[in-house]
Amino acid sequence: MSGFEPFIAEASAAAGRTDALLLALTIISVLVVGGISLTIVVFAVRWHAGSRASRQRARGSVPNRGRMAEALWIGIPLLVFLGIFVWAAVLYHQMRSPAADALTIDVVAKQWMWKIQHRDGQREINELHVPVGRPIELVMTSQDVIHSFFVPAFRIKQDVLPGRYTTLSFTPTRVGQYQLFCAEFCGTSHSQMRGTVIVMTPSEFSDWLAANPGEGSLAAQGEALFRRFGCSGCHGASSSVHAPKLEGLYGHPVALANGSQVTADARYIRDSILLPVSQVTAGYTPIMPSFKGQVSEEDILKLVAYIRSLAATESQP
């Protein structure tokens, strides 16, 4: 359904589904507000003071009529509400379930700009280039305060938090340029924290990628950082230090010293770099120093990309 297309572009897979819900809500609202208003007007005209309309109760009226009326107008809204709830919750669940083959793009928000890093190392500010028809998953974090990534044409929004990764999944369905807003108040120039999402055909997109090479792929940049920060001294293949191996780590469960288990995802790796002693792997001593304050959010995402690339190479047993 595309009930609102003339007014607001409908450029993602979720947009059409959300619009169907919004259209249903519009229709219900018009009916309810219109119906009750009309009833009030009719009553007001018919039974205004001094009118001759009868005020007598109908003869033989049903006892407990009042209670039946109440039951009716508790029951009907309840059913309608539950229907809307389920519908909206299913869509919400859909929005939050990323496709397995999604193209991952990193977003770092700061006062007051959006910094984007593509897997192959392309970087952009306040612009996001994506190919049409391909599921996208944004991995987002903030360098300072809370921001919110909002693309009205896609009907999606997600707050971007400092100290944490949030993700946003969408599939653009229409080529074009769409506005990107920061929707969570973030300080002085909040209203200038805008950008553009540029949806391109796949061939245009690969042309764009080729024309804007970064400094190597994100994983390659991460590998360079891995050496520069001295991580390889302990975690490298030839190291004599007893440190957890990172090959085949990403996406797999890790047993911790306190007996619990976590999945090695971006958040885990980020925490391990900044607060290494908070989640010590079982069988290792907490000797790793914290890199807090030395490594930027963008660099952490590069390191994550590198460790992730290690998973692909040697995860097969």
Binding site: A14, T18, L25, I28, V33, P152, K157, P162, E184, G187
Partner: protein, 542 residues
């Protein structure tokens, strides 16, 4: 103003004219007037801020004031409107004035606490005025961390101190009302003979007493975190910013019910009186008030659907939010049913009350949109939300405040205002309100984020419409000031019961004597003993 009541004794007004007699009074009616004057002062401050916001938004560029000033303007507008006008608006004034009268008591249970509440309110207000003079605060009324604690360069601590302090005034008021309703009812005034206005305030008081301390402590933690650089909300310190949002909304969502429940009470009184009929489904109205107050505590997470909260928590909060809408719907249906076969008069209070129903309905039903998860993802933090809560808080609570002001003005002052002017005021306010805020629904639907100092060009038409409507709305607010002010000296004497209303407050002279009743009243039957059948033939029923 009338200085002598019908039976020759002094009224509560003429009981003393010195400033001292006002500032040390323990009479709930005088404290109500102290509050009335104070909240109107803050209403003006917040309204001026709103006017400047609307002027700024006439053009897409940020050209009237700079961005920091704009951010301070909407923060002041929010902070002052929410805590210094809307929260105390009906309870501290009309609730204070009327609850003892309606239940046949001489005063509230703790008169000194009542006066203390006003002083505490004033002290909190001084902090906020001080914040303004010092240069303002730019965090938004929601004080989200870590912006508020670590990044804002404005006077956060003074502002949160003011809000912290004012919280205690509402705790005092709520505590007083609960005990008053429990202990001070006149003989024969059983629980199910209480007017819905009293029930509404009872439910409101529960929320005031149980939610406000959470806000107070949360703001104290904000102040400590900002002052000392340690705290549980900043991720850089190992804390979690969503914890702040949970705690903040645990208060601030129920706070909306602090505003709207008393409004529902007012409208129930007015509708019954001017339809000349008992309220339809009285007990359901009572239960729905209590249900709103209780379930209202469990829905706060619907402010956080895109905040990074867990998806499952989002679903639970969404479901509960749909459930809390049911009792509100019941109330709208019951007010409508009350009109059926009534003998309906269209005096000014009734016009305000009918306006309330219309606007509250719009605000309520768009609340359903925002409770629906996927729809909220698109609409939250846009002007759709701004329009939604203004329909509830201004369209609902402020319309009801004016309904109350017009309905009980004769009781409070002893004078009648010119009804024609008052009806015109109600209509101007209703039209102006819709002109101002309906375009904001559309702007939000099309994606305009809130708290934007400058905005993309395509939203200009809607913003100009909204600003134009604000002028009409402003006129709507000024009119009552004029004719009500005029009536204080020139208005006709009202007599004890100008509307032919039931309820104990109408059985004592206007304005009431200091002790409220010459002899203790006895209640013999249920409230709202109106008879439309008999009133019908008589076009004025008075």
């Amino acid at each position: 103003m009338t200085s002598i009541t019908a039976n020759g004794g002094p009224s509560y007004i003429s009981a003393g004219y010195t400033l001292r007699s006002w500032l040390t009074t323990r009479d709930h009616k005088r404290i109500a007037l102290l509050y009335l004057v104070s909240i109107l002062f803050f209403f003006v401050i917040a309204a001026v801020a709103a006017a400047m916001i609307r002027i700024e938004l006439l053009t897409p560029a940020g050209d009237l004031v700079d961005d920091d000033t704009y951010n301070k303007l909407f923060t002041v507008h929010g902070v002052v409107m929410v805590w210094f006008f809307l929260i105390p608006s009906i309870p501290a004034t009309f609730g204070n004035f009327l609850i003892p009268l309606m239940i046949g008591a001489k005063d509230v249970a703790f008169p000194r606490l009542n006066l203390a509440s006003w002083y505490v309110y004033t002290l909190g207000g001084l902090f906020v005025v001080g914040t303004l003079i010092a240069g303002g605060v730019d965090t938004g009324w929601t004080f989200y961390t870590p912006y508020t604690t670590m990044f804002s360069n404005s006077h956060v601590i003074a502002a949160v101190t003011g809000v912290f302090i004012v919280g205690f005034s509402s705790i005092f008021t709520g505590l007083n009302f609960i005990v008053t309703v429990h202990q001070m009812r006149a003989p024969g005034m059983t629980w199910f003979r209480l007017p819905l206005f009293v029930w509404a305030h009872y439910a409101t008081s529960l929320v005031m007493v149980l939610a406000t301390p959470v806000l107070a402590m949360t703001l104290a933690l904000i102040a400590i975190e900002r002052l000392l650089g340690v705290g549980i909300f900043d991720p850089a310190l190992g804390g979690d910013p969503l914890l702040f949002q949970h705690l903040f909304w645990f208060y601030s969502h129920p706070a909306v019910y602090i505003m709207i429940l008393p409004a529902m009470g007012v409208v129930s009184e007015v509708i019954a009186c001017f339809a000349r009929k008992p309220i339809f489904g009285y007990r359901f109205m009572v239960y729905s008030l209590l249900a709103i107050a209780a379930v209202g505590f469990m829905v706060w997470g619907h402010h956080m659907f895109v905040s990074g909260q867990s998806m499952y928590a989002g679903m639970v909060f969404s479901l509960l939010s749909f459930l809390v809408a049911i009792p509100s719907a019941i109330k709208v249906f019951n007010w409508t049913a009350t009109l059926y076969k009534g003998s309906i008069h269209f005096d000014a209070p009734m016009l305000y009350a009918l306006g309330f129903i219309g606007l509250f309905m719009m605000g309520g039903i768009t609340g359903i949109w925002l409770a629906a998860l996927a729809a909220d993802v698109h609409l939250t933090d846009t002007y759709f939300v701004v329009a939604h809560f203004h329909y509830i808080m201004v369209g609902g609570a402020v319309m009801a405040f004016f309904a109350a002001l017009h309905f009980w003005w004769p009781k409070v002052t002893g004078r009648l205002y010119p009804d024609g002017w008052a009806r015109a005021g109600a209509i101007v306010m209703f039209v102006g309100f819709n002109l101002t805020f309906f375009p904001q629904y559309i702007a939000g639907f099309l994606g305009m984020p809130r708290r934007y100092h400058a905005y993309p060009d395509e939203f200009q038409v809607l913003n100009v419409l909204s600003s134009g409507g604000a002028v009409v709305l402003g006129v709507g607010y000024l009119l009552p000031l004029l004719y009500l002010g005029w009536s204080l000296r020139r208005g006709r004497l009202a007599g004890a019961n100008p509307w032919g209303a039931t309820g104990l407050e109408w059985q004592t002279p206007s304005p009431p004597p200091p002790d409220n009743f010459a002899s203790p009243p006895r209640v013999e039957g249920p409230p709202y003993a109106y008879h439309a059948e008999q009133a019908a033939g008589d076009s004025h029923g008075r």
